[in-house]
């Protein structure tokens, strides 16, 4: 048994016993009596008018209970919501089932409800849709061209918004002939989040009580409850959403989906529980995608490597409709585009474009991986252009640790950082100087070793409510029951991150009681009165702080009761070893005794309410800005073009570390996803808008043997933004790793004069480059 303080220790997870024994309950594991199963008939066209939807054969199939089309729900079920607030944003109507036309492959056209899932699936294939195909708008640049087919004619054209960030004296920069201007187009390809558990929901409406209960695989139960109440017309007070065990999200379940709305509608109509479990192919077609930006970058750099200006024109492919945060994501890219460098002039123009594809939205990193990729590729291009070492270029452009808090030209204020420290540490871990020598040796032998750097900063612990679409605070409560056991409720909704453990560490340390006496609950809106959810690396930094502060409130109350009993001042008392005692331990009372005093209330000091329960809604004053430095070492097989990951070194700084084991887990998983983007993953639409990577046989989720050992270390630069000093680590690995890998591969290919290759860096692309050179030379 670990002893206090627990914070900072590798504490095994409270979550695990149920998970490793297969005894946890994900949505599809929940069985309610009389449950009906729902499945969807989905569009096979990227863009088509619906001439007719004939459901008669589906309705007639034995075992089918109901079939609904867009016409059936019209006026009875609200649109899929978008919460992003951008000036001038165009928001198309987004019905849960298509009514007049379909705008992407996989768009739900009809819902079939049946007694079992096989019958429902069969009947969905009996829905006869007469489509009138329209030209598919697939390329976002062509979508903006005059004369392009307009996806939402009411909105005039395919441009959803243009957002401009301009802080710079460009006239002066353009006039300065000593500056080099380096230009490069970077493509950040579309990805599929692929949580191992797909989406799914059970909606259960009780006509007698007029209550709607929804179990959903979601990251945001409270937001979902509000939105489903609005969409379905059930009074929000009578609506309950439960996020049971959730099998991963990575941002894809930070959303409100049409299918969840239809499940509520169907259950309300039928008075029975309706279960919808998404298939993997549906998941790839109809769950939000990530990334998908084209970034035209211009870097203004002095001959000594000092970068003085950065321009970027971004085209963000939003897909056909907005999901919850679709248009907001690329605006994060603009905010974080300067990375770790205090570049005085910045210009970013972001154009959001409608195309006939599934919506993009938050996927692990959500706009920041794109920003980091832009600035970290740019730094390597500068190094290449000026023939400097990439590490020197970075060092030259870092602000000093004493400069923080630092407001950049983007208007963002970074809290704390020490970028030189993380870079030096990772270079040392990697043996950078030695690696460069090895590289030189190998090149002479015709072998291609690559060394790639990336140093990142990210914006997380989201965030101040003034900067968030619908609140950035978080709720936490702590209650002590008569037996002395502690119940913690959090408005966050972790789904693998492990906060049942780290929150219990905070509480056990705060009260000086055993870890096992603390139980953390989350995810049920009837149990937890308010909450925002888990995303944006906010759960520990914001949600954990709410709990920490609730503990502090309770301790104040308990100290007053204990002080009254012991005849000392409350301020003299400390909580440790399940006791409340003076610093010299001369006066002491057990934790359990004060719990009893407080709850049974026989001799409470005047003015103290009975009971031990406190809550806190923590509103952060700023975001936090974790950072780090990564080195990726690759070897290229000259015959096949394959990239072999030889080493990966990471030094991440997420502020104070509450549980290093959980931090390692987050870093490793993030690295795997970021490396996946760099080398293998790509969601492909063909020119007709069909998805050609629609199963896991085609979409390349990396496997165990594709990775090298990750050597990761940490530095701890605490943030003053919250009393825990924690910044967040959920997305750092993903954000930092993608450019490190690409920079490494490009570095390996220097003998071929390669300046840039777009991701994913598949063997065929690299083989062509090597082969063309060999054939030519």
């Amino acid at each position: 048994m670990a002893t206090a303080p627990l914070l900072g220790q590798r504490i095994k997870r409270k979550e695990d016993p149920r998970l490793i024994q297969g005894r946890a309950h994900y949505v599809d594991d929940i069985k309610l009596d009389g449950t009906l199963h729902m499945t969807f008939a989905r569009s096979v066209y990227a863009h088509a008018r619906l001439k007719s939807v004939d459901i008669s054969a589906a309705q007639a199939a034995p075992g089918v209970v109901a079939v609904y089309t867009g016409q059936d729900i019209k006026g009875q079920l609200g649109f899929v919501p978008c919460a992003a607030g951008i000036e001038g944003l165009k928001v198309p109507d987004h019905p849960c089932l298509a009514t007049e036309k379909v705008c992407y492959v996989g768009e739900p056209v009809a819902a079939v409800v049946a007694r079992d899932r096989y019958v429902a699936r069969d009947a969905a294939d009996l829905v006869e849709v007469d489509y009138e195909p329209l030209p598919a708008v697939v390329d976002p640049e062509k979508a903006l061209a005059p004369g392009a087919t307009v996806i939402h004619p009411k909105l005039g054209n395919n441009m959803a918004f243009v957002a401009t960030l301009d802080h710079g004296d460009w006239k002066a920069l353009d006039a300065d002939k000593s500056l080099k201007v380096i230009k490069q187009r970077l493509i950040n390809q579309r990805l599929a989040p692929i949580s191992m558990e797909t989406r799914g929901a059970i909606a259960s409406y009780s006509p007698g009580e007029d209550t709607l209960t929804v179990w959903s695989s979601t990251q945001i139960p409270h937001i979902l409850k509000t939105q489903l109440a609005i969409m379905s017309g059930v009074d929000e007070a009578r609506c309950r959403v439960i996020a049971p065990e959730v099998g991963g999200g990575f941002g894809s379940k930070l959303n409100v989906y049409g299918e969840e709305g239809v499940a509520c509608f169907a259950s309300k109509k039928l008075g029975k529980p309706v279960k919808w479990i998404e298939g993997r192919r549906e998941n790839i077609l109809g769950t939000i995608h990530g990334r998908d930006q084209i970034n035209d970058v211009e870097v203004y750099v002095q001959p000594d490597g000092k970068v003085v200006g950065l321009k970027c024109r971004t085209i963000a492919d939003l897909g056909a409709y907005h999901q919850l945060l679709t248009p907001a994501i690329p605006t994060f890219t603009a905010l974080m585009i300067l990375g770790c460098y205090n570049i005085p002039n910045v210009f970013v123009e972001t154009t959001g474009v409608f195309t006939n594809k599934m919506a993009t939205d938050a996927y692990r990193g959500a706009g920041r991986p794109e920003a980091t990729y832009i600035i970290e590729r740019a730094m390597d291009l500068v190094a290449q252009e000026l023939n400097m070492d990439p590490a020197d270029v970075r060092m030259k452009n870092y602000p000093a640790p004493k400069d923080f808090p630092l407001t950049l030209a983007t208007g963002v204020t970074y809290d704390t950082a020490n970028y030189p420290k993380t870079l030096k540490k990772v270079l040392k871990a990697a043996g950078y100087a030695k690696l460069r020598k090895e590289q030189e040796r190998l090149r002479k032998k015709g072998k291609y070793l690559g060394i790639g750097l990336s140093t990142y900063v990210e914006i997380c612990a989201m965030g101040p409510s003034s900067r968030m679409p619908a609140g950035g605070w978080e709720y936490g409560s702590v209650r002590i029951d008569p037996t002395g056991k502690v119940t913690v409720l959090s408005g966050t909704s972790p789904h693998g991150q492990g906060e049942e453990t780290s929150f219990a560490q905070i509480v056990a340390d705060g009260f000086g009681i055993p870890f096992d006496d603390v139980t953390v609950f989350h995810g049920d809106t009837f149990q937890v009165p308010m909450g925002i959810g888990t995303f944006g690396s906010r759960t520990t930094a914001v949600g954990g702080t709410a709990i920490y502060q609730a503990v502090e409130k309770l301790k104040k109350k308990m100290a007053r009761i204990a002080a009254h009993k012991l005849g000392v001042k409350p301020s003299e008392l400390r909580f440790s070893d399940s006791k409340i005692q003076t610093a010299d331990a001369a006066n002491s009372v057990s934790f359990g005794e004060i719990v009893g005093e407080a709850i049974f209330a026989k001799q409470l000091p005047p003015g103290i309410e009975p009971g031990l329960t406190e809550q806190c809604v923590f509103e952060p004053a700023n975001f936090t800005f974790p950072f780090g430095a990564h080195v990726c070492v690759t070897e290229i097989d000259g015959d096949t073009g394959e990239v072999h990951l030889r080493n990966y070194f990471a030094v991440d700084d997420c502020g104070r570390i509450l549980n290093p084991m959980l931090v390692d887990g987050q870093v490793h998983g993030g690295l795997a996803q970021g490396i996946g983007q760099a080398l293998w993953e790509e969601l492909v639409y063909d020119e007709t808008g069909q998805v050609t990577t629609g199963t896991l046989m085609d979409y390349a989720i990396p496997r165990a043997h594709q990775f090298c050992w990750f050597d990761n270390e940490a530095t701890e630069t605490r943030t003053p933004v919250n009393p825990l000093g924690a910044k967040g680590i959920g997305e750092a690995g993903t954000i930092g790793s993608t450019p490190a890998v690409v920079n490494s591969v490009i570095d390996a290919l220097q003998p071929f004069g390669v300046r840039h290759i777009d991701m994913p860096l598949k063997p065929e692309k690299i083989w062509r480059i090597i082969h063309a050179q060999r054939a030519g030379g």
Binding site: K12, R13, E15, D16, P17, L19, I20, Q21, G22, R23, A24, H25, Y26, D28, D29, R117, Y118, I194, S195, M196, E197, T198, E245, V246, G247, G248, F250, G279, R280, R281, H495, G496, Q497, G498, M661, L662, D664, G665, V667, H668, G669, G670, L671, A672, Q673, T695, L696, M697, I701, R703, A704, H705, F707, W709, F710, G733
Partner: protein, 160 residues
């Protein structure tokens, strides 16, 4: 069709549709929801169970094909653990080494690892990675899974 089979040591006899997938049989008929469905194309391995001692992806086998078989699922690995008994060393290894996050791939991963260790009692890290290539995990980046399997191997086969 009628099938007779052994699931986690208990004999069962059920009437099933010929097209019922084994994974749906286990989850919906036998009530063993520890076995998950992640892809339906035999790629992800979330549905891995032992059929006559061999790791099989139960989403691409019909229940009727398992007629007469001896099946073990995650629930059968250490059935007494919920009543105070020991966890299986693999379960313990995954817990100790933080070999899971969301837990969705974990039952399949543990079953696949069990087959791996039955064939190769003390695998190298590279062999563990190769041995688990039929199972996808999106959370961990696999490193802690490799350590979890090493942890279990050292306890299950200290002499090997």
């Amino acid at each position: 069709m009628k099938i007779r089979l052994k699931v986690n040591g208990a004999l069962r006899e059920d009437e099933v549709e010929p097209r019922l997938l084994l994974v749906h049989y286990l989850r919906d008929v036998a009530g063993l929801t520890g076995t998950h469905i992640g892809c339906e194309t035999s790629i992800c391995g979330a549905c891995t169970v032992l059929v006559n001692g061999e790791a099989v992806k139960s989403c691409t086998l019909f229940a009727v094909q398992a007629d007469g078989a001896d099946i073990k699922t995650i629930e059968g690995l250490a059935p007494d653990a919920t009543t105070g008994g020991q966890l299986h060393p693999l379960q313990q290894g995954f817990w100790e080494e933080h070999g899971l996050q969301c837990g969705f791939c974990t039952p399949g991963m543990i079953i696949a690892a069990q087959q791996l260790l039955s064939r190769n009692p003390r695998p190298t890290r590279e062999e563990i990675r190769k041995g688990l290539e039929g199972n996808l995990c999106r959370c961990t980046g696999y490193q802690h899974i490799v350590k979890a399997v090493e942890h279990a191997a050292a306890r299950m086969n200290p002499q090997a």
